[in-house]
């Protein structure tokens, strides 16, 4: 008790931190599993893109950001929203199309927004968020804020013209953007070798003079470390950074996809690298996780989800008369 309290404290914190990462990843996973059921039960509609298998990416990257930083996301964004701290109730209510949803029911799964945590949206146009992130970073630079903007997008997005234009701008102007390319090897049903003449996406980013790294996106600790290093570099004024996060989606592209284009063996090989299992195994090996605490974690999350679903069910709908609200702002500047 009296020896090395500081070191003990430090170890405990590190342990807690890792347990926090586990909780975040597990929350995302269980949340989405619930969404699948709610989709079948037609409580959730529209397009639904699951992040199952990719949880380490959002969890690791967002662990490296501060509360004042900004996040720009895609249509596959439940993970980003939850890891960023958007209240689960608000996310669930959004998917139910309710007034208490984080976009007042107007956005749905593809358009989660939360100003209070700096989540500037889900964007359902592939690549469409990348220029926004560049602009947010430009505004920060012009206003001398120390903010970093993390911008998530997929391997498919990197083939779009906006990717090229945006990386060039960010590099030219040395803007504080962290580009996070979630390389899950497919753009819908198109394998990366059919998307890109050169499939090394970190190298592609380097060609714009952006410091880049490829990271094991199934290892949340590796992701967090790489993101911390990148964020440090950005905050030090070194301009944008690029992370290629190598990952895999365990489920189909969306609820409409029958996954004809991937073979079972490939999928199961990747499933062996489940980021949650990997962290559980590591924590267990280090003696930081018992069956009991894991069960407790799971039941905690289960209850949280159940509460979110109940709250979403009970929440009011936006009045139909408000359909045309927010097409234009309600207040004009003085």
């Amino acid at each position: 008790m009296t020896t090395k309290p500081a070191a003990h404290k430090r170890r405990a914190t590190r342990e807690e931190h890792r347990l926090g990462l586990l909780r975040t990843m597990t929350t995302i996973r269980r949340f989405e599993e619930a969404c699948v059921e709610l989709y079948s039960a037609t409580r959730i509609r529209g397009f639904l893109h699951l992040y199952v298998g990719e949880e380490a990416v959002a969890t690791g990257v967002l662990a490296a950001l501060g509360p004042d930083d900004a996040v720009v996301s895609t249509y596959r964004e439940h993970g980003h929203a939850l890891a960023r701290g958007v209240p689960m109730d608000a996310v669930m209510a959004e998917m139910f199309g309710k007034q208490t949803g984080c976009s007042r029911g107007r956005g749905g799964s593809m358009h989660l927004f939360d100003k209070s945590v700096g989540l500037i949206g889900g964007n359902a146009i592939v690549g469409g968020g990348i220029p926004l992130a560049v602009g947010l970073a430009l505004a920060d630079r012009m206003q001398d804020r120390g903010r970093v903007t993390a911008c998530f997008f997929g391997d498919g997005a990197a083939a779009e013209g906006e990717f090229h234009e945006s990386l060039n701008l960010a590099s030219l102007w040395r803007l504080p953007v962290l580009f996070c390319c979630e390389n899950n090897l497919y753009a819908m049903g198109t394998a990366i070798a059919k998307e890109h003449a050169r499939t090394n996406l970190a190298a592609r980013a380097s060609s714009y003079g952006i410091e880049s790294a490829a990271v094991d996106g199934m290892d949340v600790l590796a992701v967090e470390e790489a993101a911390r290093e990148a964020v440090r570099g950005i905050r030090a004024g070194g301009g944008p950074r690029f992370l290629e996060l190598d990952t895999y989606r365990f489920r189909a592209h969306s609820m409409y996809d029958s996954d004809r284009y991937r073979n079972k063996a490939e999928i199961s090989t990747w499933k062996e690298r489940d980021p949650i299992d990997a962290l559980v195994t590591a924590l267990r090996a280090e003696g930081h996780l018992t069956e009991e605490s894991l069960a407790h974690l799971e039941s905690d999350i289960g209850e949280q989800i159940a509460r979110a679903v109940a709250a979403a069910e009970a929440a009011p709908l936006e009045p139909v008369e408000d359909l045309t609200r927010f097409v234009c702002s309600e207040e004009v500047e003085a």
Partner: protein, 327 residues
Amino acid sequence: MSETLETTYRDALRDAIREAMRADDRVFLMGEDVGDYGGCFAVSLGLLEEFGPERVRDTPLSESAFVGADIGAAIGGMRPIVEIMTVNFSLLALDQIMNNAASLLHMSGGQFNVPLVIRMTTGAGRQLAAQHSHSLEGWYAHIPGLRVVTPATLEDARGMLATALRDPDPVLMFEHGSLYPMKGTLATDAGAVDIDHAAVRRPGTDVSLITYGGSLGKALAAAALLDQDGVSADVIDLRTLRPLDDTAIVESVRRTHHAVIVDEGWRSGGISAEISARIMEEALYDLDAPVERVCTAEVPLPYAKHLEEAALPQPPGIAAAALRTLG
């Protein structure tokens, strides 16, 4: 009488593509996920297996370049069918569509025509929210040099493509997303259809309901409601939005003296305005009341079901508008 088969709008589209590719080596299909995935709405399912990856060509996400490339391929002697998954993404290719596809023939003094068919899914109604719910076919109809077609029936899903492929100039074909699963019967020998004329889908005498594409079903449902009120609606399916078949519109208005335009596009500056303006110009004195428009509310479409439904034209609203014109 010819034999018939049970089919769907989706299958009819696929049969049309398959037939065209079998008949003409120059025809090929290109777009995101048309191959391995089978098409984002499963229209091209199985075509890769039959025709191989050269002719059922998956593209990277790069709408501007692959549409532009198909314009080049058309000039180079091919007959491309390019699928842009949805109209929402076509904005990324709009420069190529307007500045090249629609302009090259005129700009080159008649030397380079662009025999290209661009297919895309359009429309709302499936809770896909603001960025996946546009109805821009009427907006595209503003552009000289393009033809815009909107199959609303199985016959047209089966038959418009062949006619479009014979057109020496670019044709945009808009498939409403809610129609893909539509079932029905079709003659086994169904094939190319005329794309120059509108069609009367339900003859009537009291009010013209002028519509197209995904709204045809709603207009017919409204006509059924009106029937209960003893009002006989003439339902016109425009089929082609550019060039518009003025004659059919005017003839219907001459018969009924009342008109309601039903369009899933936004109201201001939509094709509904053009139709109203043409009636103004060509049939004003035949009208007994102002032409009404039932369009989508001028909002980026919301996700929530009740809001989306409120935003879109619906049969009761259409019927109410018709009754208003009848005083």
